[in-house]
Amino acid sequence: MADERWLDGLVALVTGARRGELGGGGAGIARALASHGAQVVVNDVTEELVAATVGQIQQRGGIAWGIAGDVSAPQDAQRMVDATVEHFGRIDILVNNAALGGLVPAVEHLPDEVWQRQVAIDLSGPFFMSRAALRHMVPRRFGRIVNIGSLAGVRTGFVSGAPYTTAKSGLIGLTRQMALEFAPTGSPSTCSCPPESATRRSCDGARIFSRDETIRSDRSIPKVSLASWSRSSAGGIPDCSPEQRSR
């Protein structure tokens, strides 16, 4: 169906998208974007992890390319985005999905390293990646940044600790501020998951996103994920219509 390919010609970079069918939300997002026509760059920490998702997308006739790297290292973030532009000629969509969560000790027993690593990957990572992507998106006056949030960012995590809740909360502030800066006419309309949908998205999301069938049967998911912020209200209600892709 023509409508199925509403991302035709766009280039998307998805972080933390390892292990194909066996992977988590990121691999599902990468597959979904590819199935709608996007050329997808798959990132995760190692080549092997990345290759599985790339292979799977290609097998289904999609266009994918992999790049390993650490989103929490600023030079790595810039390198990966630059390589994406070198390979496909542009970057239109960035999905900041990579994250590190899981059970950690209570705050009073929490070691510095655990705290710092999660905050670096879950909060600084999306900043470094977004900054690098914006440097290409701004001159072209088009871009979509989707930050995968969590219920933890709005309330608290059930199976995660202080660093995850802290970082996912910060991610909402990051999203809001970038939406303000880049939403006005004259700048690319950078867009993000609104926190609340990001939350619902990722709660059911890790499950839903890993199965393309569900994506197909629930079109609202990619639509909301690729929501663009309405121009009038910075940090306000996002406009979720797919027509927002028009340039």
């Binding site: 600023p74 209570a106 705050v107 009073e108 929490l110 510095d112 705290w115 710092q116 905050v119 909060l123 600084s124 900043f127 470094f128 977004s130 900054r131 914006l134 440097r135 701004v138 933890a152 960012g153 309330r155 608290t156 995590g157 600790g161 202080a162 809740t165 802290t166 970082a167 996912k168 909360s169 910060g170 991610l171 909402i172 502030g173 990051l174 809001r176 501020q177 970038m178 303000l180 800066e181 880049f182 209200s233 910075a234 940090g235």
Partner: protein, 268 residues
């Protein structure tokens, strides 16, 4: 003062970070007037000594403690020193913060991002962790982060690092409040809007501040005393059931449709 009548902090020990500037001296003094003994910290020995002197001149029991809050070992040592000196720590008022440059996100440097994160997020965590370890033993504690109403909105003046880290600080507040609620410890954030601190009055002058006030539903700037009174109340025994909250104190500026949360940006 009403605060004195309502909030009795006698017998308590409070550590106030970032005590030298802005709202710091007023908060420290208000807690002291309510009966607490005060440990103050600021980023330089000079700033710390200056606020201690001001507090003592006002008849308050205060002492200065030096530490770089972005260094977890120094924070542990700071809290240890306060406990060595006073025997306990009941109240942590974390007012230290780093501002952002206000540059657009794509122009924010690694250094800006990391240094704002270090103070607004990492230091808050190190302080909270060290404080909780002490407070648990006595089954009483009050952790109060003095944040900013822009944490809930956006900031043209401070930019992405500031907004993201302030929102993150609220995440830490919420998470920690759950962990420690059963131990008699509360964790809250206070979100002042536009407050006419002496330095702002000096920098902007009365006329600018009056113009700015017109953008605020309350039609005036807040006062440091009003913020300090809220902090003192949250520190009191009476506030034991308030936890995990981020409380705006902003003359309703944050809830005006289309309003600016960062009215000072108009004058940047």
């Amino acid at each position: 003062m009403h605060v004195q009548q309502r909030c009795d902090l006698s017998g308590m020990v409070a550590l106030v970070t970032g005590a030298g500037g802005g709202l710091g001296p007023t908060i420290a003094r208000t807690l002291a007037e309510a009966g607490a003994r005060i440990a103050v910290n600021d980023r330089t020995p000079e700033r710390t000594a200056a606020v201690v002197e001001r507090l003592r001149e006002a008849g308050c029991a205060a002492e200065g403690f030096l530490a770089d809050l972005t260094d977890s070992a120094q924070v542990d040592r700071l809290v240890q020193e306060v406990v060595d000196r006073y025997g306990q720590l009941d109240i942590l008022v974390n007012k230290a913060e780093a501002h952002g440059s206000g540059r657009r996100s794509d122009e924010v440097t690694d250094e800006e991002w990391e240094s704002v994160l270090a103070v607004n997020v990492h230091a808050a965590f190190y302080l909270s962790r060290a404080a909780v370890r002490r407070m648990r033993q006595r089954r009483f504690g009050r952790i109060i982060h003095v944040s900013n109403i822009v944490a809930t909105r956006t900031s043209v003046l401070n930019g992405v690092a500031y907004v993201a880290t302030k929102e993150a600080l609220y995440g830490l507040t919420r998470h920690l409040s759950i962990e420690v609620a059963q131990h008699g410890i509360t964790v809250n954030a206070v979100l002042p809007g536009f407050v006419a601190t002496p330095i702002l009055v000096e920098r902007w002058g009365d006329e600018r501040i009056r113009q700015l006030a017109e953008t605020i539903p309350a039609l005036r700037a807040g006062t440091p005393e009003e913020v300090a009174a809220l902090v003192a109340f949250l520190a009191s025994r009476e506030a034991g059931y308030i936890t995990g909250a981020a409380i705006p104190i902003d003359g309703a500026v944050s809830i005006v449709p289309g309003g600016r949360s960062d009215p000072s940006a108009a004058f940047a």
